[in-house]
């Protein structure tokens, strides 16, 4: 059974595709600057490119999560979305706030707080926008015939993501306090409630693709999100080692953040075992690739590469170096970018009626983007380790070290080109599907 209001999801996914493309452009600007070719400096200085690159990531992922929710909630609750017009208004305002923020970054209109650069007046618009979105989702869920665990976990993730945006809006005179609460937003999002969103979407996809009994999948979903919170909440401590708070965080943060990979390991084992257990084989191979892919790559990128520098003894040397960029890229790609691409790959055939289940372009998109991103991660890792050794152990000047590692950014750009080719293939497939139709949803 499908619902006509699910169509709105398509436009959120389209916005995601557009912003993802732009994000990649700004990534290249930064990579060239790191390699010594900062040719755009007078127009787009590094700090502009950086703010645009990370904020576009956040906005396209959020747009993808929202699209996922608009697709999943009607189907799970067995109820049309309560107000479709409002959902379109919410989409347009989200896009407008995003565009204004990003243009503003080119004219020194921002607040320099990593990941939360959106200026406060625009923050309030974000709040109104997200409240509208949550209202639509929660009322639909409330009026629906069913309240499944999958829908509840997904909605809970979205609700807490909204709530946790607020500590990032408070002004502090003290940089340590500022940093302390900034992590309540950033860490508790990506290593907390966003994993609920990811888990909810993953559970939905596994139910649909593998045909395993919902009760079994949802039971393990609880265990995984339980592991996420038990390790992730106190794992926030790994951001508190060296910002001006006490030594207790070295112990608490070290122990609990070292447990964070367990949740991702759970997610990977969960996806693989459900796939093997499932008797029904869904014909949508591309969606299956992305679904299993996100579970596995998130374990490597977010889980293992995070563990690699989360202990205080190691982090003392790697904190604030390119090693963080290494972990950040594969973590966000594996856990959040891939889950959004998975739900899009699953939803598009149902929304448009075109069944591009097993195309060459679709498979190329999966493999090129993944191999490209792994290559980029390795390049960042090599540059990062060299930087740590030369700067933090040998004591060379920052600028001299950066000159030594420029060559790694050449490799990074080669791998990024491969990655981009994959994303271009994905977007070509997206365009080939065309727009959603009522007939497709009624079929």
């Amino acid at each position: 059974m499908k619902y006509k209001s699910q169509k709105v999801a398509y436009w959120f996914f389209a916005l995601s595709m557009l912003l993802l493309s732009l994000q990649i452009v700004y990534g290249f600007i930064m990579a060239f600057a790191h390699m010594g070719y900062d040719v755009l400096h007078p127009v787009i200085a590094f700090n502009t490119a950086r703010a645009v690159h990370t904020n576009l990531l956040v906005v396209w992922l959020l747009s993808g999560f929202m699209g996922a929710a608009y697709y999943i909630i009607p189907e799970e609750a067995e109820h049309e979305l309560v107000n479709v017009k409002l959902a379109y208004i919410q989409l347009i305002t989200l896009a407008l706030v995003g565009v204004v923020a990003i243009i503003g970054y080119h004219f020194n209109y921002w607040e320099g707080r990593k990941f939360l650069e959106i200026p406060r007046p625009l923050d309030w618009l974000v709040v109104v926008n997200v409240l509208t979105f949550l209202g639509l989702i929660l009322v639909t869920l409330f009026k629906g015939k069913k309240r499944t665990t999958t829908a509840l976990v997904l909605s809970m993730g979205l609700f807490f993501a909204a709530l946790l945006y607020l500590p990032g809006m408070i002004w502090f005179d003290n940089q340590t306090m500022d940093s302390f609460f900034r992590w309540w937003v950033v860490h508790l999002w990506v290593e907390g409630v966003w994993e609920l969103i990811m888990g909810g979407i993953l559970a939905f996809l596994l139910i649909k693709i593998t045909g395993v009994d919902r009760e079994v999948i949802e039971k393990w979903l609880y265990v995984i999100v339980g592991l996420t919170f038990i390790s992730g909440i106190l794992g926030t401590g790994h951001h508190y080692y060296y910002i001006g708070v006490g030594k207790v965080w070295l112990i608490v943060g070290g122990i609990f953040s070292a447990m964070e990979p367990l949740a991702f390991l759970g997610m990977a084992l969960f996806a693989i075992s459900m796939y093997r257990k499932g008797e029904k084989k869904h014909p949508n191979k591309i969606a299956l690739n992305w679904t299993l892919g996100t579970a596995i790559v998130s374990f490597v990128g977010a889980g293992l590469l995070g563990l690699a520098h989360t202990l205080p003894q190691v982090n003392m040397y790697t904190h604030g170096t390119l090693v963080t960029a290494m972990h950040g890229h594969l973590a966000f790609w594996g856990a959040y970018a891939m889950i959004v691409l998975a739900i899009i790959s699953y939803a598009l055939p149902n929304l448009t009626g075109r069944k591009l289940f097993d195309t060459t372009t679709g498979l190329l998109a999966f493999w090129l983007s993944n191999i490209g991103m792994i290559g980029m991660t390795v390049a960042f890792g090599v540059a990062g380790v060299a930087q740590v050794y030369l700067e933090r152990m040998v004591g060379l000047e920052f600028g001299d070290v950066q000159k030594e590692i420029e060559v790694h950014f050449f490799i990074l750009i080669c791998c990024a080109t491969m990655f981009t080719t994959g994303i271009v293939c994905y977007i070509i497939e997206f365009l080939k599907y065309g727009q959603p139709t009522d007939e497709a949803l009624e079929a």
Partner: protein, 141 residues
């Protein structure tokens, strides 16, 4: 074997307990540790204005401070000790992009007063107790 109800209890129970501990530890840090370790009594209007300038220009978009930010330009937590006031002011007040080793900084052409405030902010942050960060290079001759 684990039932769905038990799995839910594990999720809710685990979350509530760890979140409780997290709030307790945060309360302790913010009320007992931060005022002493950051020397809150030294947060003069000048330092606070320096932080405002720091944020409004997104300095964290290239530099790191407390090890947080971007990795394009040097870590600045201890820059006051390392370079001294004159050097920092020259970089901030320069009308052409400051580029000591090839990499260009945005030319902010700050007034002397603004530059002094940023220096005050950087001096304050250099005195915060950071549990030994940044580490002393072990092999430096």
């Amino acid at each position: 074997m684990l039932s769905k109800l038990q799995a839910r209890a594990f999720f809710l129970g685990g979350t509530i307990v760890t979140f409780g501990i997290f709030l307790g530890l945060s309360w302790n840090s913010l009320s007992n540790e931060v005022p002493k370790r950051t020397h809150e009594e030294n947060l003069s209007p000048q330092v606070i204005h320096g932080k405002e300038i720091w944020e409004s220009n997104n300095c964290m978009g290239c530099h790191t401070i407390l090890g947080e930010g971007a990795y394009y330009a040097p870590e600045l937590t201890k820059v006051y000790d390392r370079r001294g006031e004159g050097y920092i002011k020259a970089a901030l007040m320069s009308k052409t992009p400051w580029s000591p080793r090839g990499r260009q900084m945005v030319a902010y052409a700050m007034t002397e007063q603004d530059a002094n405030d940023v220096v005050a902010f950087l001096k304050w942050i250099g005195e915060v107790d950071l549990n030994g960060f940044p580490p002393k290079p072990q092999y430096k001759k």
